[in-house]
């Protein structure tokens, strides 16, 4: 175990160095730029064997990932915001071709208006592209999830997107526990694809035209693989706990065992929420938080079971679906609760768009509102915009 102080991007680049992938095609975009920047220095120094491809756009970055992965390589890249938007077409091709690419998405708002700061519009906007999505609260979680993502992707043959908050996590330096190089190397092992284009003993074609008679079945294969990947994520997380002592589930719950009012919140804001929970607990208020780690596949039974005994829920979205109803996490979780015949008064907050600071006092206001809802069961307005100037 190595104790270090690293930013989120440094931690991810360090994990990539330890993984030593075959190919890293990347194009710089704030706030993910440092990942290929640090990584290219590892390439120049000869500390990794990776073929680093500085491409001319994110569309090309993911295209090169797809080609290299189909050829049989272990492939990683990183992007943010507009970069992920430009990858949109190729995201569906990566998942549709079942290529186990690991892509870091450092979450940033999507234009317009142009903004470089954090919200989850980028990764939430591609939530149906067929990638597994893991969300991280801290630098430690980003480092750990990147290492696990390699195994999860290669076992499920589904690409994995690891998401964490731009600047808040990507550029803030935190204490971190790193694994020894050899431990990571043994953990990820050697990638041995069943079929790959550079296999001299097998002459195959990948990604061919697939019309009415077969397309539907191939999409069903992907859907089944996504459902089954939940078990793979659990297995890999257990294996990771053995080498690191850090155990990850589908989600993290904080003081929800006896709570009446629960907040569901992703990524770094969950850290702020925990502080607020502690503070309100001192007042004797029974509050807790649930922080999903895995959003794709949506572990809807686990999440709804964890929420079953709450009397009120606030579901926090750092992305707006602009659909006249609610944010994406609320839409999906409230549908999941309904599917399990669980009826709990719930409220949606769109918060922190474009990097608007989310303070303890902001989240305290939300908690106090759901405490009230837990008592009277009344939700005045389903979707609310936290701290916006009307």
């Amino acid at each position: 175990m190595i104790r270090e102080r690293l930013s989120g991007n440094e931690a991810v680049a360090f994990a990539m160095k330890q993984i030593n992938p075959d190919v890293v095609p990347a194009y710089p975009i704030t706030p993910s730029t440092e990942i290929p920047q640090y990584f290219s220095s590892f390439v120049s120094n000869g500390t990794v064997d990776t073929e680093f491809i500085p491409v001319e756009s994110e569309h090309s970055a993911l295209s090169a990932c797809i080609g290299a992965s189909a050829a049989g390589g272990r492939v990683m890249s990183a992007t943010s915001s507009q970069g992920l938007s430009l990858m949109y077409e190729m995201l569906y091709i990566a998942s549709g071709m079942r290529l186990p690419i690991v892509l870091t998405c450092v979450n940033r708002a999507v234009s317009a208006p142009i903004n470089i700061h954090n919200d989850h519009s980028d990764s939430m906007g591609v939530r149906d592209c067929g990638f597994i999505q893991l969300y991280c609260e801290s630098n430690q979680e980003a480092y750990d999830n990147i290492i696990m993502a390699v195994k999860i992707a290669e076992r499920s043959m589904i690409p994995v997107m690891v998401c964490y908050d731009g600047f808040i996590t990507s550029h803030s330096v935190e204490n971190i526990e790193l694994l020894e190089d050899s431990v990571v190397k043994d953990f990820v092992g050697k990638y041995e694809p069943k079929h790959y284009l550079l296999n001299p003993n097998e002459f195959i074609s990948m990604g061919p035209l697939d019309l009415q008679n077969y397309f539907f079945e191939h999409r069903k294969q992907l859907a089944d693989a996504m459902t089954d990947s939940k078990k793979i994520i659990e297995e890999v997380s257990e294996e990771f706990a053995k080498i690191s002592g850090r155990k990850y589930g589908m989600f993290e719950s904080y003081k929800t065992e006896d709570s009446d009012a629960c907040m569901v919140i992703l990524n770094s804001s969950a850290g702020t929420a925990k502080v607020v929970v502690d503070k309100l607990r001192e007042e004797g208020l029974k509050v807790g938080i649930l922080k999903p780690r895995v959003f794709r596949p949506l572990p809807y039974k686990d999440l709804t079971n964890a929420l079953r005994n709450q009397k009120a829920i606030a579901i926090m979205d750092k992305a707006d679906s602009v659909n006249g109803f609610s944010g994406p996490l609320y839409s999906e979780l409230s549908a999941a609760l309904y599917s399990q015949s669980i009826s709990i008064p719930s409220i949606n907050y769109i918060y922190g768009l474009g990097g608007r600071d989310v303070k303890e006092t902001d989240l305290e206001e939300v908690f106090r509102n759901i405490i009230k809802i837990s008592k009277d069961g009344k939700v005045d307005k389903t979707t609310n915009y936290l701290g916006v100037r009307e």
Binding site: G96, H195, F203, D210, N213, H218, Q221
Partner: protein, 94 residues
């Protein structure tokens, strides 16, 4: 070899084609709407129709005797009928 009775669990993942040389199994002539007819009595077996055929669909033997068309491959473009100086190929609606 796959077929359209196979389910998602049986079919190769993501539509990977596991065997090479399978283009012969694709009948490109399926969407033809006009087909060439060989009029043997006019044919001088000059082989002028062979080279321009984009689908390699003119069947001939080693002695350069024109034998007819590979209708699985012929897309009915009509180039052969156009180049024939002897009116030995005509196009007919399917």
């Amino acid at each position: 070899m796959i077929n359209d009775k196979m389910g998602a669990k049986e079919l190769p993942m993501a539509g990977i084609i596991l065997k090479d040389g399978n283009s012969e199994q694709v009948k490109t002539g399926e969407w033809r709407n006009q087909k060439p007819i060989h009029i043997l009595e006019n044919c001088k077996h000059c082989m002028l129709c062979v080279m321009p055929c984009p689908d390699n669909a003119i069947i001939h033997d080693e002695d350069d005797k024109m034998l007819g068309f590979d209708y699985d491959a012929c897309k009915g473009c009509g180039v052969c009928a156009k180049v024939c100086p002897f009116k030995a190929i005509t196009m007919e609606n399917e």
